[in-house]
């Protein structure tokens, strides 16, 4: 007897699974950066427009497809049209690439979490140099948080060519991260359904606590005012709109097949329209909420650095001119500087090269995104708070929850088609398939724990999923509307859920969203072509900062392979089906 398809215990588990998948690290470390770069408060306008025009329709479509076809991505698209099985394979492949490098972030979060139980925090002090007369040279040139990230965590090499050896500490953390993921997906929806309660809700608890702490920090309001002040002229910049569209697109995790996988475990009568709207709204609200927290932390850090800079200048002038200790304060600094410049011009010109103009604005202007924001900027702000161990533990625990929630979706996208396939699931039980996927991904993930691993991580992060996903979702939308037929899909949905499809969804699916995706795709393609050779940021240990270098030829080949392998699946899949059908028609007719 065939086993019934596993199901979510209740619709709430499904909603939480989608939320914990969609609300990920991108909400915390990418949206605040975009908001700051593209007009502050006024970025919310294109963001919300894109949410309504692009995010909600595409999310609803994926959930509806999954719930209707009740199979993973490969089976679902093959049911829509036998020639489109390649779309499903492309989704699985992209999910596989993603899960390989994404779990490394969880490994880093574990590393920082374990190191948070020390006093003082290891990234707050520089280690001493050989003869104990000063601090380590690299740490002096950079800062202690950057040193801890680049030297202690990554042990990064100067360029991508020098691979170095596998670092055992991050490797151990990666193995632990994969074990945790395996534990959560072991029993399929039964175990995943319970874990998502935690991965969906705990980050909000931490964010609320951090909001309370962040808003009461000294200088937090500086950050909030500066970041949220709308710069309306940015609305005229096309990059603003493109980045808003891209952020909505990737933040919801469309095209990976995870949403189709999650929805396939639903009851057919589930109201996925309501859930699609809820999930997309919560995702965007979380982004905005996280950016409030991030900007107050920015404000605190910028004010702290600004005051440090002022104190350094005061000390410099006090020492150079032997002024009375405590005479110079922040308020009379400028006056005294002018006085000194006129009274002792020769001595002042000696000191002049060392005098920096401390500016709060320039501190606030440093916009960071990605791992730099999460592991350097945040940890720098945390080390200056009181009871920093507690805040550190909370913060990295939240990062872990966000990361594991997204990993659950990624692995579901890979495992659901595999367990759906009768060939594989008849030979191997579900636990063994999950174990094999985790083992292979972990083994490949060891690449990212080498000394040059972070450079490969950046390659995967920037190129593995971006272009391919746009193409996949474009083909998906066209397939549902034109190959399967919008009317047929509409009547399927009506039979399944009992609700009629609103005209809004039909217009979006058939017209607006595909056009948007085509324009995004064209923009990125032209951007890649126009920028010529691709570059990356390498860490220079002597200067203590990042320098730009060109990728070597084999790295460019890997990038090309990453993009090509997933995009080529679509035409190859269609071609493969065409050939097998052609061959079958060649045989004499077997069944009446």
């Amino acid at each position: 007897m065939e086993k019934a398809r596993p199901q979510w215990a209740n619709p709430l588990q499904f909603v939480f699974a989608c939320i914990s998948y969609a609300v990920g690290l991108g909400n915390v470390w990418r949206f605040p950066y975009l908001c700051q770069m593209y007009g502050g408060g006024s970025f919310l306008i294109p963001y919300l427009i894109m949410l309504v025009v692009e995010g909600m329709p595409l999310l609803y479509m994926e959930l509806a497809v999954g719930q209707r076809m009740r199979q993973g991505s490969i089976g679902a698209w093959r049911t829509i049209s036998p020639y489109l099985g390649g779309v499903g394979v492309a989704s699985v492949l992209v999910s596989f690439f993603l899960s390989m490098y994404y779990n490394v972030i969880n490994a880093w979060a574990f590393w920082y979490l374990f190191h948070s139980f020390q006093n003082p925090l290891p990234w707050s002090v520089c280690p001493l140099n050989g003869n104990r007369t000063g601090y380590d040279a690299e740490c002096e040139a950079a800062s202690s948080t950057q040193y801890f990230w680049y030297r202690k965590t990554l042990n990064i090499s100067p360029s991508i060519q020098e691979s170095g050896a596998v670092q055992w500490e991050p490797a151990l953390c990666l193995i632990l991260a994969w074990l945790v993921v395996y534990l959560c997906i072991l029993r399929g929806t039964e175990s995943t359904g319970k874990v998502v309660y935690f991965t969906a809700l705990l980050p909000y608890c931490v964010l609320i606590i951090y909001l309370g702490r962040g808003l009461t920090l000294h200088g937090a309001t500086n950050g909030l005012i500066y970041m949220f002040t709308p710069k309306v002229e940015q609305l005229a910049n096309p990059r603003t709109w493109i980045n808003a569209a891209t952020q909505i697109f990737f933040s919801l995790g469309l095209g990976f097949g995870s949403l189709i996988a999650f929805a396939s475990y639903n009851e057919p009568s589930n109201d996925c329209q309501k859930h699609a709207i809820i999930v997309s709204l919560i995702n965007s609200a979380t982004s905005i909420f996280a950016s409030i927290v991030t900007f107050s932390i920015y404000g605190f850090k910028a004010t702290f650095n600004y005051e440090n800079c002022l104190n350094k200048m005061i000390l410099l002038l006090t020492n150079s001119f032997d002024l009375e200790d405590g005479f110079l304060t922040a308020s009379n600094l400028e006056q005294v500087k002018d006085h000194l410049a006129s009274a002792y011009p020769s001595k002042y010109s000696e000191v002049l090269p060392y005098i920096k103009n401390c500016s709060l604005e320039s501190e606030l202007d440093t916009a960071v995104q990605g791992t730099g924001l999460a592991f350097i900027v945040y940890s720098e702000a945390i080390k200056n708070m009181e009871v920093s161990q507690l805040w550190s533990v909370l913060y990295f625990f939240m990062l872990l929850m966000l990361g594991i929630g997204s990993m659950l979706g990624n692995t579901a996208a890979i495992l659901t088609p595999l367990t759906d396939s009768k060939v594989i699931s008849s030979h191997l039980p579900k636990e063994v398939i999950s174990g094999l996927v985790c083992l292979i991904s972990c083994a490949v993930g060891m690449l990212f724990t080498m000394e040059a691993g972070n450079y490969w991580f950046d390659i995967f992060n920037d190129y593995a999923a971006t272009l391919s996903l746009l193409l996949i979702v474009l083909v998906e939308t066209i397939a549902v509307c034109y190959v399967y037929g919008l009317r047929r899909f509409e009547s399927d949905l009506k039979a399944m859920t009992g609700r009629a499809l609103s005209w809004y969804w039909k217009v979006m699916w058939a017209g607006v969203s595909p056009l948007l995706i085509v324009s995004l795709f064209a923009f990125y393609l032209s951007d890649y072509i126009l920028s010529g050779t691709l570059r990356y940021q390498a860490w220079d240990a002597f200067q203590g900062q990042l320098v730009t270098k060109d990728y070597p030829a084999y790295a460019l080949a890997v990038i090309g392979l990453l993009v090509a392998s997933s995009t080529m699946c679509i035409p190859l899949g269609a071609l493969g089906t065409f050939i097998t059908r052609h061959l079958k028609r060649g045989d004499p007719a077997p069944v009446a």
Partner: protein, 222 residues
């Protein structure tokens, strides 16, 4: 009569202790920064204490046990508070080599700091680097302990889940083999029509036609 002698001593004093003189060190104090409201004023008595501490440090150096407070000369005291000092030999003609003074101060830095309630950062001897306190280095790094604990918990939980899954499936395998004699065998077969299992046909959106009676209701129950 004493005047020429006094002038001579002051002249020698002035020559030996000058900013950037040979074997002279500059000292810088930040009393207000360190003590805030409890800051004391820097006067000649404090200078006397400083000279006493330097003389004390030098007396601990072998062959310099006869250093007196009078051998320590201070000059150029500024508002900062900063000044230069030298240590002369008993004849008061030469200054002691900088290396000796440096090592003596480094050895007794803690005592000197405590005498003035200051620290390495607020009582600075320029050109005499202080020995920085090494960071605490436990024998087993703390993070490995926490890692080990969490690792073991996860392994135990995973093993339990896998084993319970195996037990459940074993129990399920045993039950149908007991029940197969009592139940009608037909109900365990996959219904097949035209070579396609009926279950997957459902996925294509077939509607259930209630006009047909189901298999169970065809036979009247006993």
């Amino acid at each position: 009569m004493l005047w020429p002698l006094f002038l001579l001593v002051t002249a020698i004093h002035a020559e030996l202790c000058q900013p950037d003189a040979e074997n002279a060190f500059k000292v810088r104090l930040s009393i207000k920064t360190a003590l805030g409201d409890k800051a004391y004023a820097w006067d000649i008595n404090e200078e006397y204490l400083f000279r006493a501490m330097v003389a004390f440090s030098m007396r601990k150096v072998p062959k310099r046990e006869t250093t007196e407070i009078a051998h320590v000369l201070l000059c150029n005291v500024t508002q900062r508070v900063s000044f230069w000092f030298v240590v002369t030999d008993p004849s008061k003609n030469h200054t002691l080599p900088a290396a000796e003074i440096q090592s003596a101060i480094r050895m007794n830095r803690n005592r000197i700091n405590n005498a003035f309630s200051l620290s390495d950062q607020t009582l600075e001897f320029l050109k005499i680097p202080s020995t920085l306190a090494p960071p605490m280095d436990p024998s087993v790094p703390i993070w490995i302990i926490i890692f080990g604990v969490i690792f073991c918990i996860i392994i135990v939980a995973t093993t339990l889940l896998i084993l319970s899954g195996i037990w459940q499936s074993r129990r399920k395998n045993m039950e149908p083999s007991e029940m197969v004699d009592t139940e009608d065998k037909r109900e365990n077969m996959i219904t097949v029509e035209n070579g396609i299992p009926c279950d997957s046909l459902d996925a294509k959106g077939g509607h259930i036609n209630d006009a047909f009676m189901t298999e169970d209701e065809r036979l009247t129950p006993l």
